[in-house]
Symmetry: C2
Subunit: 591 residues, 2 copies
């Protein structure tokens, strides 16, 4: 009886959010929906006319550093966020006037605590509240009409490096948020706060004792030996030496998704700390892991670790895209994940079964393949920074630490059944070294340099289409730099993304090598493309504002090649193309 | 014989600059020419098709505060400047790549020494050199090909508040530059440096002994008693009490113009220091004055003081536009000047004769009229802050201290014979108080508040057309805020300007109430509209980036109404429209 009473709540993800999503005129969540698909049914702008696209209007946020995420649009209002200091603007789309602006006072001491630029990945909206996850870890609900604070709550301690960059996500009656600070030895967790009052509902750590992870040793399943088995007692503690798990990372700064029929939310955990593997022998569970959690209780239904014992900083936080697709011919409730480690995983999202794991960049060389029985990557000794040991520079590892893909979210197009993936095509040298933990100080322990994948087209990125049912690249479009922007597909037959040089591009979703439209926005793009309709007109838009890890040299004014954990050298040519500056560019067809 | 030998040099303004100006594809000087006309012969974009204008590309400078001036375009290269820290970019228009970038290291202590935002009004180009006047007073010549410093020279002492915002101007073989710091008691001057090596050629102060002003008591003429008369001995010293002239202002941060046939350059001097008139009885010559100087020697041919004994901060620096027009029916080599004090002056530029002086905003009330015999404004006692005395708040003075027009340059259209003037429609309360001079500290001595001109359309600006031959407003187009952007007229029948809300607008030059095109750029516009042609296509462009005096609240993060010398309160509604951010928006017709 109790179980059946629970059914109605299972059936609604959140009635208000669902209603907003169902109306394609809105852009109601960061990914447009709860599946992380980044697909819009709008088709006024389409293959035939996108070449005529024009800039409709623009808006500067007044903040210089990297602009990730995108605005939201709800019923004729646009809600924009900015990087630190995390301003929020409510813009009336009728008049384009700023209805209200919220600018928190945050201690600038937070800035140097952020590993990869002072980015923020955007707002959530539900039930008349705009939710902001500030850098200083304050989670704030604003009244959407007035911008006044309804509630606010502290999610972490920035003095210890626990800061935030992720977008909050509303699933059911909860606001879900994560934490950053893997490079400060922060112990990662995911937390659910009540949308109504901001009180903590549950919190599940990535590492440590079972109860703190909300892992049920008997019921939380994982893929092993070709089958799903319970993780067993102390599944995390057993894989760490001593207390290292307490400063062991596994942060959660990515995009989350939710399947209301299963009442499961999905997200990935980041790298184990430090970057010097010698200091943390073991699998370091559950860093680098896909988590499927019950949204009501937080209890983990299944987990899957992509990169046990990370030796390369291949954070597992990249988004889980939920799609119902044929996998090897069989209709599947799939979860598709393009991991930093260069493998794209297709799982059965209902239970965590591993279905496909293939390289989505042919240059990936640190592992030969993923053993489908054990689910473990087969590491190539030559590229093992652990086997080579500290103070040895392991050269030519592909991908680089920022992975074949980093935070830039991919899109799924139900019309083609393909995934559209903005990728990095970058390799690295990696030299780990011993590092002491000091609370609140960086805890990295490796020197890196990065460079374009050798023996390729010379560029640092590709925009690809991926067949997740078979684990195959369909097409690959070379780009000079990593594509650090999130893509969008639309019913107009388009796939659109931004480049680090600053170009907004739309390609033919059926043939992505065909560039149908290209426009140079004010600055490099690391934001995500979004679309909405207002007064009968479809608009597309994207933030520009160079930054993020790839643009950290410019964003933070760094100059040494190995600064920014190797990104400064790798992306130094960016300064021939663009400069800082955060603004929104909105496109539409001519009247 | 000596005189006739000098003739050839008189005939050329600077062969290279003239050649660049003659080619309408370039935008070779800040005003497009040496006459300050801001008129372009390009007509591809015209009245008929401007409605179809599109944004062609955009570029962020990576600097947030007010962006004045405009880029230059020379032979397919674009040279952009930014506010402090005064970056310079050379962009190849074929590839839009940044060919080189120059970023001086300037002491940030300069920032608070700048009265009205950290603006910079742009570059000069001549003979393969790009000339930058940095905020810290360094005048720098860069090699246009490489961006390397060819020479640099110090123009003032920023520790004493002598900083720079003006664009350098190349006339003949000289680089002309001025100085800011009227609110720091800086003694104003204009200086000419050799274009070839950066050595000082001459320097003419605004105040003090005749020889330091390069004034010839017998030959430098001024309009008095209905005729031109020599200024006589100690024309400045006699009008100051004691040594006050040494800290007496008269700075020179505006736009300069040059008539090569006369070999005269024209510019205006700023307010006398302090803003408390009680501390400086006398006419305070030659503050608030139009200077006509010989470019070779610097010697003043004529001077004319618009506002003797300033009591309102009506700096006389606004540009002198040279145009050959009928004045009261008679063909005239005219100089037209829209002064801060609200009067527009038409002079005979050959000799300094006063021909017309009329209000170009009907709300101007501090003076009834300019006496055409004496050339002096007839002050209304009620609005005299000196007669009312220190510590008395004189209310309702029109215009406000920022004048009926400030730095925003006007344009002249030879087709209509009219001047197109971006104006302020703002009044003020002004309360002077005693202030001690401390070297390097602000030396203001007045509290101000500003508000829209009462009993009018409620807005703070008008875009007007002006008949300078008769001293009459032809049309007036209301704007919500001051029009702080420089205008451009073109052979396409257009007059274009920007607004503080961020709109780029083009109106019909024959009927400026007809808005033909409007586009919302990322931020408020205080830059000047410019145009060029590249590969057969005409482009128009403008910097956006709110700031300057009108936008100082946002630019410097000030909040008290009387901060920013009263501008913060006056313009506080701006934050409902825009935020900071410097970028260039380039427009063109669709392909
Ligand atoms: O370990 C962490 O906590 C953490 C946090 C973040 C972040 O919050 O932005 C990044 C990373 N790691 C990271 O490894 C990484 O590649 C990265 C890229 C970016 C970005 O926004 O471009 N952030 C982060
Ligand atoms: O007295 C001076 O030296 C001085 C300098 C400047 C400047 O250099 O920008 C301005 C002013 N005064 C001034 O009075 C004024 O209205 C003003 C406006 C602006 C601007 O850029 O918006 N600058 C200045």
């Amino acid at each position: 009886l109790a179980a059946s009473l629970a059914v109605p709540s299972v059936a609604t993800a959140n009635a208000d959010v669902e209603k907003n999503i169902a109306n394609s005129k809105n852009w109601a969540m960061q990914a447009g929906d709860m599946y992380n698909q980044r697909y819009s049914k709008l088709n006024q702008i389409n293959k035939g006319n996108v070449g005529k696209l024009q800039v409709a209007w623009t808006f500067s946020t007044g903040v210089l550093r990297g602009h990730e995420g995108s605005p939201l649009v709800i019923d004729g209002m646009m809600y924009l966020h900015s990087p630190f200091p995390n301003k929020v603007f409510a813009i009336d789309l009728d008049t384009q006037k700023i209805k209200w602006k919220y600018e928190p006072k945050q201690d600038p001491a937070v800035i140097p605590q952020m590993c990869c630029d002072t980015v923020n990945r955007g707002l959530a909206y539900a039930e008349g509240k705009v939710i902001l996850q500030q850098a200083d870890s304050m989670l704030v609900a604003l009244d959407a009409k007035s911008g006044k604070v309804v509630w606010s709550t502290k999610n972490g301690d920035p003095k210890l490096g626990a800061v935030n960059t992720n977008a909050p996500h509303v699933f059911k009656d909860k606001v879900i948020t994560g934490i950053s600070g893997g490079e400060w030895g922060v112990r990662g967790f995911i937390a659910a706060y009540n949308l109504s009052d901001g009180k903590l509902a549950w919190k599940g750590y990535s590492t440590g004792p079972d109860n703190e992870m909300l892992i049920d040793p008997d019921k939380t399943m994982t893929w092993t030996d070709g089958a799903l088995k319970p993780v067993g007692k102390d599944s995390s503690l057993k894989t760490w030496k001593g207390d290292q798990w307490k400063i062991g990372g596994g942060t959660t700064w990515g995009w989350y998704s939710y399947d209301k029929a299963l009442n499961l939310m999905y997200y990935g955990t980041g790298n184990p700390s430090t970057w010097n593997p010698a200091q943390r022998p073991g699998d370091n569970k559950w860093s680098m892991t896909i988590f499927a959690r019950d949204v009501d209780t937080g209890v983990a239904k299944w987990v899957y670790q992509m990169t046990p014992f990370d030796e390369w900083d291949f954070d597992g936080i990249n988004e889980m895209i939920l799609a119902d697709i044929p996998v090897k011919g069989k209709p599947t409730k799939a979860l598709v994940h393009f991991d930093r480690n260069g493998f794209a995983y297709t799982m059965d999202r209902t239970n965590g079964a591993l279905l496909v794991a293939e390289k989505y960049d042919p240059k990936v060389n640190w592992a030969t393949h993923v053993d489908m029985k054990t689910g473990r990557p087969q590491v190539v000794a030559k590229y093992s920074t652990a086997q080579n040991g500290p103070d040895v520079n392991t050269k030519g590892i592909c991908p680089a630490a920022l992975g074949s893909k980093d935070q830039q979210p991919a899109s799924f197009d139900p019309n083609t059944g393909l995934f559209y993936v903005p990728t990095n095509h970058v390799c690295m040298d990696y030299e780990p070294f011993k590092v002491e933990y000091t609370a609140g100080q960086p805890y990295v322990g490796a020197t890196l340099s990065m460079f374009p994948a050798p023996g390729s087209h010379g560029g640092m990125g590709n925009y690809i289409t991926w067949d997740a049912g078979n684990g195959k690249i369909v097409q690959s479009k070379p780009e000079k730099f990593s594509v650090w922007s999130g893509s969008l597909n639309t019913a107009g037959g388009l796939s659109c993304y931004g480049t680090l040089e600053g170009f907004f591009k739309c390609v033919d979703a059926k043939d992505i090598t065909k560039e149908l439209y290209k426009f140079r926005t004010p600055s490099g793009i690391i934001g995500n493309v979004f679309t909405y309709e207002h007064k009968g007109k479809q608009y597309m838009g994207v933030f520009s504002g160079i930054g993020g890890w790839a643009g950290i040299g410019m964003a933070a004014g760094l100059e040494k090649d190995t600064d920014g954990l190797g990104a400064v050298g790798g992306y130094k040519e960016l300064n021939q193309y663009t400069d800082l500056g955060g603004s929104l560019t909105i496109f539409a067809l001519p009247n």
